[in-house]
């Protein structure tokens, strides 16, 4: 770039330097939570800042190299992110449902004497004749409510067969008139009520039909009050078919779960009855069973005649404070201090407050926004997440470079994945076999062998394409499978230690590892960062500054033209594929020696294909690949963080990836049509003479970069 060029591009360069610095500071600030102390306390913080400076430099390169196209790339990504946001919103479409589902409790709080003690089926147990107390219990009385026509049996029995306690029982109406009495049980009754009755000493009033609605009492006593037999006796009123007219008593919570997600017949509302006396002062509470249940309740008190006496949809902060721990939030409902107007059976109705559309929308939007914020800022929220971002980025950048080389030659090779396996395998096998060599020798040799392995494996589809015309897309995909299975086989058959529980090699000796420059609790960023700088430069020189690069570019631009000019296109295609393979092989070595520190199954995690997105976003420009690799790795890491923190599947990032590929493919179409238009436009302007030719420059440069 000569002097004139430089001064013309000065504003652009200054602008990109500013953006680069801004990005660097933002990342550093975020990773250390904005605290100077956190930063200086972190080990390797200088290295971390250096790496951030490199990230800033990648941004600078991106802007300088692509100029207006950079804007287009950013817009593409933003558009993809917006679509991704919509997809994320799908996960939260039912976010508001948490307000209508969950376990709840209903309780009637009152200091008043309870009108009744039990309902049908309630077992009331008392210890009779306990000699250790001053006044041993000889007789108990329980009240219950019944309806006219209910056929009931009243039982008093002793669970313990050895207790020798002889019971008698009587049923009285509201006026304490005895309706029925019993002091023993027949053999037949013992059979009929074998769930309850144990001996003939137990008492049973059988098949008694209640004459009217109202309160009744059961009196159970020892048949012989002077005996010194003692033990626990239980009283129960059983009604065949008849349901208990009450469901709860004062101060005893009952509850269920509204809209349980997996229930076949979910409960949407609930009603509980209780018996109250005139003048009882009660408070009715309906509240979420646990503090992490967000169900928003409303409650109504219905009188014996069916009229709604009081309603509530929430509670005040003071009420919440007063009724802790039952009430937990203002979503819980309370009817406080209600005086019952008459004796009778009251009903408490409760249900979740109905959802409004605006609630649904605002809840979805706010949840999505929260999740997306986690997505967009997640990689910077902790140092170890930043490290994960860097590690992914390094691998992706290497793969992006590999893909960019073949794509420059218009060879749609997707073999990076397989070449990566061979690279990892070659490096790993070498490190495992010669772990005692000095590091200065072992690491370069391992890297070199990885590159060689990738080169040779990349040569295979190149030869198939050049000499047999085999479609590189198909052949590379097939060869990927071959490589992955071969890798698996070598690990299982040769490298797996006998005592290993799953398919993996031994850990590499530290001599065979890339030296870490940043270490956050075992997660490391290695010197691969610096090796990568060299790799980017080499790739750039290869494509832009060597005759082979010229051949690759011309073959990509028009293979017939290249042939016509004397370029040996077969050789160029083979070399482009093989060199791309060498770079992908290095990515494999990086995965093995820098990240996993041993050979594991599925070491690539499908990154080879993500390299395609990285290269496409970078317009196959090696100087832009670092930026797009960082960008894409950032999105990947962010998606993982979102999956963990916001429970949104990281598949969202796949959707973003698909959208990016679609948009860029469409972008290529746009560029194609624009180029046709410019061809015509350029003609017209040039016919006018050179006076207007300046106007051509900008548009024609778009073609050059498009």
């Amino acid at each position: 770039m000569n002097q004139r060029h430089f001064s013309r591009h000065l504003p652009l360069i200054a602008f990109s330097v500013l953006i680069g610095l801004g990005v660097m500071f933002f990342i550093t600030y975020r990773v250390f939570g904005g605290s100077w102390e956190t930063m200086t306390n972190a080990p390797n913080y200088v290295s971390l800042i250096i790496v951030n400076a490199l990230i800033g430099f990648c941004v600078l390169l991106f802007v300088v190299e692509l100029r207006w196209d950079a804007l287009r790339v950013i817009l593409t990504v933003i558009f993809a992110l917006l679509l991704g946001g919509l997809v994320t919103a799908v996960f939260f479409l039912d976010a508001a449902n948490k307000y209508v589902q969950g376990e709840f409790r209903v309780q009637v709080v009152s200091d008043a004497e309870p009108l009744i003690d039990m309902g049908y089926g309630d077992r009331m147990t008392e210890l009779f004749n306990n000699p250790n107390v001053d006044e041993p219990v000889k007789e108990v009385s329980y009240q219950f409510v019944g309806r006219e026509g209910d056929e009931i049996a009243v039982l008093a029995y002793v669970e313990d067969r050895n207790a020798d306690l002889d019971m008698a029982v009587a049923l009285l109406d509201a006026n304490d008139e005895v309706l029925a009495e019993a002091s023993g049980a027949t053999e037949e009754q013992l059979r009929t009520f074998r769930r309850y009755l144990k001996t003939e000493n137990d008492a049973v009033i059988e098949s008694f039909v209640l004459p009217a609605d109202g309160t009744y009492s059961v009196v159970a006593r020892m048949e012989n009050p002077d005996s010194d037999a003692r033990g626990e006796a239980t009283v129960v009123v059983v009604s065949e078919g008849g349901e208990s007219p009450v469901d709860m008593a004062y101060n005893a919570p009952v509850g269920a779960t509204f809209n349980a997600p997996n229930a076949s017949d979910p409960i949407t509302e609930a009603a509980y009855r209780f018996a109250g006396s005139r003048g009882d002062v009660i408070s009715v509470l309906s509240y979420a069973a646990r503090s992490n249940v967000a169900v928003d309740l409303e409650v109504a008190l219905v009188g014996p005649d069916g009229a709604v006496l009081a309603e509530s949809t929430g509670s005040t902060a003071e009420q919440v404070a007063a009724y802790r721990p039952n009430l937990n939030s203002e979503r819980d409902a309370i009817i406080e201090g209600f005086t019952l107007p008459a004796s009778g059976i009251y009903t408490v109705r409760t249900q979740p407050e109905p959802l409004t559309t605006s609630m649904r929308i605002s809840e979805t939007v706010s949840q999505t926004a929260d999740a997306y914020e986690t997505f967009l800022l997640g990689p910077l929220s902790r140092q170890n997440r930043w490290v994960i971002w860097m590690r992914d980025a390094l691998t992706l950048i290497m793969l992006g470079l590999a893909i960019a080389i073949v794509f420059r030659a218009e060879q749609f090779s997707l073999g990076a994945d397989g070449q990566l396996y061979f690279g990892a395998l070659a490096a790993g096998a070498l490190v495992l076999a010669f772990g005692d060599l000095p590091k200065i020798l072992l690491v370069p040799v391992a890297l070199l062998s990885a590159a060689t392995a990738g080169f040779l494996w990349g040569l295979v589809p190149g030869v198939l394409k050049a000499y047999l015309g085999a479609n590189e897309l198909v052949s590379t995909l097939m060869l990927n499978t071959v490589a992955a299975r071969f890798y698996e086989m070598v690990i299982t058959e040769q490298l797996q230690p006998p005592d290993a529980g799953f398919t993996t090699s031994d850990w590499f000796a530290s001599n065979g590892l890339l030296t870490p420059i940043i270490d956050v609790a075992g997660d490391q960023v290695t010197i691969a960062v610096y090796l990568l700088i060299i790799l980017v430069l080499i790739t750039w020189v290869l494509i832009q500054r060597t005759p082979l690069g010229y051949e690759i570019r011309m073959i990509g631009a028009n293979i017939k033209f290249a042939n016509f000019g004397g370029v040996n296109s077969k050789r160029t295609i083979m070399l482009a594929m093989a060199i791309s393979g060498a770079v992908a092989g290095l990515a494999g070595a990086h995965l093995a020696m820098g990240i996993h520190r041993r050979l594991i199954l599925n070491i690539s995690l499908g990154l080879g294909f993500e390299g395609v997105v990285v290269a496409l976003l970078a317009r196959n420009n090696p100087l832009v690949v670092p930026f797009t690799g960082l960008l894409y790795a950032y999105l990947r890491t962010g998606a993982q963080v979102m999956e963990r923190d916001a429970n949104v599947s990281s598949e969202v990032v796949r959707i973003i990836q698909a959208v990016v590929i679609l948009l860029i493919t469409a972008d290529a179409l746009v560029a194609f049509f624009r180029q046709r238009r410019i061809t015509r436009r350029g003609t017209i302007e040039l016919d006018d003479g050179s006076g207007e030719a300046g106007g051509l420059t900008a548009s024609a440069q778009e073609v050059a970069h498009g």
Partner: protein, 515 residues
């Protein structure tokens, strides 16, 4: 009263390009109106406006005196305006008749089935009425180009076109087919149709049109009656300056033989013999023209000689060195240059820069590659120098070739090939699709280089070009060389035509004499 009139049309494209600058055009009923101008002068834009493909920024269109708005091609067709595009818009897999009725098919069974009989009958009737011969039952991809064009015309007539716009109809035709087309066009006019004929070949303008409108730089230069003008005047109007239709061609003695082709034969993959036993010699300081109807082996001859295709048998020696069988680079290193017949396929890479396009044959040698690395400064300097030297209208050699006009693209090709310091230049269709100014320039370059000692093999479908430039003319028919003549003034197109159509064949001994 004019049948169709464009009044003061201004067309500014959304990207700010002014394509029509207050252009007016008036076409009378029943006339053949030629519209000429160099590439990019705005002819096509004006016609697209008439056909409803583009909408004018300002200005009016009057049809039979009434102002009309032509919203779409469908509207244009409804108004009786038909257009035959340069690139045919036919469905290859359909028959001729099916193509003609496409979109307005006669149907039976309540519109479910096409009535093929009616389609064929209609086609035959139209065909007879206008003297446009077609085979209704032939599939379009099996019929010759000339017939496809007639299909296009019939298609427009079937839709009721009264005004036919023919966009460079002769660009793809052989001389014979061109004659047929002209006959048909005259027939159309006698049947009451009106024809607008777009071209940049002045000879055709003179041959067929009643009036001519000339456009340049988005403006109308003028409209003249054909009978009151001549080619030179039209050329001057088109280019804006005096054009020398005749090239300066000083006589020189031919020198040593450069290319000796011996018994070249090429049989393609399907077993067809496309080049049979071609033997000839090309000498220093001589243009050897190859005449022939396109598709008679000229393309294959050029491609075999330049190494793009491997000869099935035979040999070729450049300066006594055998060059075939090792690919294009070996040929190029023997200093053979090649202007390919289809520049967009072989001649340039449109997405690559002008500078990169200019070094495709020499990038690996100094000064472009030094110590294994490309010297970008040398590439740029070379580009700028050639852009200057060959008058390529481009602000910078860093621009993609795709941003140039066809003529300037061709100049890039010519600049590269002539700057390679060749001994032999194989120039295939060097001026195809190039405007007059560039044709003049390229012709002069060829002749100058020949005068300076270059051996040139000129392959052209334009018989006049061959006759104008060549020192010796070789005629090819059916893959064989059937005649070789010295280009003497008494040699006529008709004479050559007999050989080109295979009606005559020169005896071997006579051919030997002119080797």
């Amino acid at each position: 009263m004019a049948l169709i009139e464009a009044v003061d049309i201004v067309k500014i494209y959304p990207n700010g390009v002014l394509a029509n600058d207050h252009v007016s055009l008036s076409v009378e009923a029943g006339e053949i109106h030629a519209l000429v101008g160099e590439n990019g002068a705005g002819k096509s834009t004006l016609m697209k406006i008439l056909y409803g493909l583009e909408h004018p920024t300002s200005g009016e269109i009057h049809l039979r005196g009434q102002p009309v708005t032509i919203a779409s091609p469908q509207a244009a067709i409804d108004m009786g305006i038909g257009m035959v595009h340069q690139n045919f818009m036919l469905v290859d897999a359909f028959t001729v008749a099916e193509n003609i009725v496409l979109g307005r098919e006669p149907t039976i069974h309540q519109g479910i089935t096409i009535n093929r009989q009616t389609a064929i009958r209609d086609t035959e009737m139209l065909s007879q009425q206008y003297g446009l011969y077609v085979e209704p039952n032939a599939r379009v991809d099996t019929v010759p180009v000339g017939m496809r064009q007639r299909v296009e015309i019939l298609k427009a007539l079937y839709r009721g076109a009264e005004i036919l716009i023919l966009d460079e109809p002769t660009a793809v035709l052989t001389p014979r087919e061109t004659d047929d087309l002209f006959k048909a066009v005259r027939n159309l006019v006698s049947e009451g149709k009106t024809v607008i004929f777009i071209t940049h070949k002045l000879r055709e303008v003179m041959a067929i049109s009643d009036r001519v409108t000339v456009m340049r730089d988005a403006r109308r230069v003028g409209t003249v009656n054909t009978s009151e003008t001549n080619e030179a005047e039209l050329a001057r109007m088109m280019v804006g300056r005096e054009v020398f239709m005749q090239v300066e061609k000083p006589p020189v003695r031919r020198g040593k033989p450069v290319l000796e082709a011996r018994n070249l034969t090429f049989i393609n993959e399907t077993g067809r013999t496309l080049l049979h036993d071609a033997t000839f010699t090309a000498y220093e300081s001589e243009i050897l023209g190859i005449a022939g109807v396109e598709g008679n082996g000229q393309t294959e001859l050029a491609e075999v000689l330049t190494g793009l295709r491997a000869a099935t048998s035979g040999e070729a020696y450049v300066d006594g060195v055998s060059v075939l069988g090792h690919g294009p680079r070996k040929v190029r290193e023997a200093r053979v240059a090649h202007i390919p017949e289809d520049r967009l396929t072989n001649g340039v890479a449109v997405m690559a820069t002008i500078g990169d396009n200019l070094i495709v044959d020499r990038y690996y040698r100094p000064p472009f590659t030094r110590m294994g690395l490309l010297d970008l400064a040398a590439i740029r300097d070379n580009g700028q120098a050639l852009v200057q030297q060959f008058d390529i209208l481009a602000p910078s050699a860093d621009l993609p070739v795709g941003s140039l006009s066809g003529g300037n693209m061709q100049k890039v090709v010519v600049a590269r090939e002539l700057s390679a310091d060749p001994r032999l230049l194989i120039a295939a269709q060097p001026t195809r699709g190039v405007d007059i100014g560039a044709i003049e320039y390229i012709h002069q370059q060829l002749v100058d280089q020949r005068t300076n000692g270059l051996a040139i093999l000129l392959i052209s479908a334009d018989l006049q070009e061959v006759m104008k430039l060549s020192d010796r003319i070789m005629v090819m028919y059916n893959g064989e060389i059937v005649a070789i003549f010295p280009n003497t003034p008494d040699l006529t197109e008709q004479q050559l035509g007999l050989y080109m159509l295979g009606a005559e064949r020169q005896p071997a001994e006579e051919m030997e004499r002119y080797q």
